[in-house]
């Protein structure tokens, strides 16, 4: 915890931390055992069998049995460790459903985070205790890495890509946030605080923000950049309807499929001709250079929120933002 002073072992503040530390301590114990064994044997032999004029060395007898023993036993041990580690790792790479979404953008040399309701933080992140939080991270410039030692999790923030990680805090408190991928001059200063709060306190804190949500901001951008012109109104035959697509697999022109996730949305906005949806022409213009990373996240949030029946009004020319018209079809 921040401000706590000298420790020999990091604080455990997440569900993963508890599980990982068990594996870690097993590794420490096992390593201690083998290192100790070797060191004791070496020292013992070096002392007992030190060179003496009255004793000649013995002939070395090879022993296939011994070789097999000390090959097979380590092999079994490492496979065991691998499986244990793989189990934890797979657990930790797949965020649970319903996790609280947080979007993080790293840039030289600060962390910008945004909660699902739009509340923004810089170099700080408030998180609830007892609920899973999913971080989707990217970078605006070079590779950074979002690292919370107390939670034992780390994920590189790569420019041009979205990477996710998740954690569930178990203890309220303030914990270190470090950038863990060297990123230039002030890499060591790209640090911050993770503030874990009891859920109700967290909800209060979150609710304290009443301005624009990412979905609302995204909706505005959707209109501002003219996306609605193609993707919502009667011109749907030129561009696909985006409602309800998030998380599904879409068929691509020229064969193949793609998962409609954050990365796909981002690519479609910046490189629309890279993956055309099946049955459509490559007519979408690119918005590279016009959309910032944060605007991108807002647009993604908006598109994620679109439901399948969103085909808005059929009113010519009038572009109404989606939202409250379920069941209204063209």
């Amino acid at each position: 915890m921040i401000g706590e002073g000298f420790r020999l072992f990091p604080v455990q503040a997440s569900t993963f931390a508890e599980k990982l530390d068990r594996l870690y301590l097993f590794l420490v114990g096992m390593s201690g055992f083998f290192a100790g064994l070797i060191i004791i044997l070496v020292i013992t032999f070096a002392v007992i069998y030190r060179r003496r004029a009255d004793r000649a060395p013995e002939k070395t007898r090879t022993s296939l049995g011994l070789e097999l023993i000390w090959t097979v036993i380590p092999l079994i041990l490492v496979m065991f460790i691998f499986l244990w580690g793989a189990d934890l790792f797979l657990d930790q790479s797949i965020p649970p459903q319903g996790a609280e979404d947080v979007y993080v953008v790293g840039k030289q040399w600060m962390w910008k985070a945004q909660h699902s309701n739009g509340r923004r933080e810089i170099n700080e992140l408030h998180v609830p205790v007892g609920r899973a939080v999913k971080i989707t991270a990217t970078s605006q410039d070079v590779i950074h890495s979002f690292y919370i030692p107390a939670f034992r999790v780390k994920q590189d923030a790569v420019p041009g890509q979205y990477r996710t990680m998740w954690f569930q805090a178990t203890k309220a408190g303030e914990y270190h946030l470090f950038c863990a991928e060297y990123c230039g001059t002030d890499h060591s200063k790209m640090i911050g605080r993770i503030i874990a709060m009891q859920d109700t306190a967290y909800q209060n804190w979150l609710g304290g923000y009443t301005e624009e949500t990412p979905v609302q901001a995204g909706e505005k951008l959707f209109v501002q950049f003219d996306c609605a012109n193609c993707h919502e109104s009667g011109r749907r035959q030129r561009c696909p309807n985006l409602g309800g697509l998030y998380g599904t697999t879409v068929a691509l022109a020229g064969g193949g499929t793609a998962l409609f996730d954050e990365a796909y949305i981002r690519e479609s906005i910046l490189d629309p001709k890279a993956k055309i949806a099946a049955g459509y022409e490559p007519v979408m213009p690119t918005f590279r250079g016009q959309v910032t990373e944060e605007q991108m996240l807002a647009l993604i949030a908006y598109i994620k929120s679109l439901s399948p029946n969103v085909a808005a009004t059929s009113t010519e020319g009038a572009r109404r933002p989606q939202s409250s018209a379920p069941g209204k079809k063209e």
Binding site: P10, R50, A56, E181, Y182
Partner: protein
């Protein structure tokens, strides 16, 4: 035996000719080995100077000794110089060059002129790197991750990359030379399974040098192209993929660490057997484990990228292979330990270094298992845990093996004995200083202190101060051999042909050897390390 008189009148490779031309244009593998020795010693101390400055800054949590940018250059240059200009050449270019022909009963390597070219390439590569340093340094880290290195850094990336590119070819040529020599030029009767294990490990190392180095060469070349012409090969904003760089870079740089450690393991096999006067336990297993490490080592590079954004399944594949590559190393450690059993163990400085190697390499190797475990790596990658792990292997392992080898073969190379008392003291100081420097870093890493930080959270200070204190002791341990080895050249006791009572062809010829190594090509009839039928000759 009037060795004193023999040195003055007998011709050998050192006194056969004098003058700078006879050294700079030599084709004698032994002289070339010494040229390499001087070059890499210079770079070792240069890299050490950078390390000293790094550790001084890290005594306090604030960044108060250097500016951030300067510190970033210091750790980058420490890594670049130590890895490419010291560790990669070290044992192969010095001890390998000197001993490979002699150990197999040959007069020289297969390609003596290529060998000399190899030294010149290292020097030229070193000059470019020095130029990069003097022109203001480079701050990308030795890993040159894009897009920072290709677009954002304002430092001398291209110069540094050229230096590494050229010195890489030095490594390739050394490897090529060793492979051909070991295949083609063994003396009659020197079958593969009678070869000293030093040769096996250099052979395995050479395979990696030849196959791996070209990949990093072309990768760094692409980074230079990207930087100079502002085109996007690895930059996402211009269409490239920064993760592709990481794959290409680590495809070499992981096997590179085996280039750095395998020769050390070969040295240790020689030291353990000689200084316990006992045949190695499990010769075949140790020999094949060198090859296994080289081959499997090419398949594990992704363990540097568990959090970089590769698929989970790739990560698991790399993880399992990384565990597998640890097994042959474990086999070696067990075999060395078993060799000591009922041996006749001398406490000479080379043996102390070898015993220290076994302990420290074991610890370093075991911590590699932590890193191979994907889940643990999520927490400790990019922290001081990794720094501690690789320093245990490289410094606690490789450098100790190197120093042990230098001492062990010093009589053969120079014709003089080093002062044993001072040497043992230095070995002890190195051992103590090393552990004090690097063990706290494991703790720091698990606590969460990231790498490449010049300012850190207050609670990390105690361990950092311990580490710096250890570094100051370690430095003493490294300076001492410089002093007494040079001293011994003039004042040391003359050495006989076989001061250790060792087996091996190099001990059958005079110290120092004549230029042609052997008066007559030896005929080998005995297995390696045949100590039973060998009468013990003491110093």
């Amino acid at each position: 035996m009037s060795t004193q008189l023999a040195i003055f009148t007998r011709e050998h490779y050192l006194n056969v000719s004098y003058g700078w031309k006879s050294w700079l244009f030599t084709r004698d593998h032994k002289r070339i080995a010494l040229l390499f020795l001087m070059t890499i010693t210079f770079f070792f101390f240069l890299g050490g100077a950078f390390a000293t400055m790094v550790r001084l800054e890290l005594m306090t949590p604030q960044g108060d000794l250097f500016q951030a940018q300067t510190y970033n250059k210091l750790f980058s240059m420490h890594g670049i110089v130590m890895i490419f200009l010291f560790l990669i050449p070290s044992i192969p270019a010095v001890l390998g060059n000197f001993l490979v022909p002699i150990m197999i009963g040959a007069r020289d390597l297969a390609f003596p002129r290529l060998n000399l070219l190899s030294w010149y390439l290292l020097v030229i590569g070193g000059v470019f790197t020095l130029w990069a340093i003097v022109a203001g340094g480079v701050d990308t880290g030795w890993t040159f991750y894009t897009p920072y290195s290709s677009l954002f850094s304002n430092t001398n990336v291209v110069l540094a990359v050229i230096g590494i590119f050229i010195s890489g070819f030095s490594s390739i040529l050394t490897g090529l030379n060793f492979i051909v020599t070991i295949h083609q030029m063994r003396a009659p009767g020197m079958t593969w399974f009678r070869l000293p294990l030093f040769i096996w490990s250099h052979y395995a190392t050479a395979i990696i040098q030849v196959l791996g180095t070209p990949v990093v060469a072309i990768t760094l070349l692409l980074v230079a192209v990207e930087r100079v012409w502002r085109v996007g090969i690895f930059d996402p904003a211009l269409g490239g993929d920064p993760i592709l760089f990481q794959h290409l870079f680590w495809f070499y740089s992981h096997p590179a660490v085996y280039i750095m450690i395998l020769p050390g393991m070969g040295v240790v096999s020689e030291l353990i057997t000689t200084h316990s006067h006992k045949q190695i336990f499990g010769y075949t297993f140790v020999a094949f484990s060198s090859l296994a490490i080289a081959i499997i080592g090419f398949a594990v590079w992704g363990h540097h990228m568990f959090v970089a954004g590769q698929s989970q399944y790739a990560s698991l594949m790399f993880s399992i292979l990384s565990f597998l590559v640890a097994i042959p190393s474990a086999i070696k450690v067990f075999n060395w330990t078993a060799t000591l059993y009922k041996g006749s163990i001398s406490y000479s400085a080379p043996m102390l270094y070898a015993l220290g190697f076994i302990g420290l390499f074991t610890i370093g190797g075991l911590t590699g298992l932590f890193l191979a475990t994907t889940a643990v790596d999520l927490h400790v990658t990019d922290t001081y845990f990794v720094v501690a792990h690789f320093h245990y292997i490289m410094v606690g392992g490789m450098v100790m093996a190197y120093l042990g080898g230098i001492h062990h073969w010093w009589p053969k190379i120079s014709g003089k004995m080093y002062p044993e008392g001072w040497a043992r003291l230095a070995a002890l100081i190195v051992f103590i200083g090393f552990n004090l420097t690097f063990f706290p870093q494991f703790v720091l890493g698990y606590l969460g202190m990231p790498r490449r930080y010049y300012a850190y959270a207050d609670e990390f200070q105690v361990l950092n101060v311990m580490s710096t204190a250890g570094a100051s002791i370690l430095a003493v341990g490294y300076v001492l051999p410089m002093v007494y080895l040079i001293w011994s050249l003039r004042y040391g006791e003359s050495a006989s042909a076989n001061p250790w009572g060792a087996t091996g062809l190099e001990w059958q010829i005079p110290s120092p050897p004549p230029t042609e190594n052997f008066e007559e090509t030896p005929i080998v009839e005995e297995p390696a390390y045949n100590y039973e039928s060998y009468s013990r000759a003491s110093v």
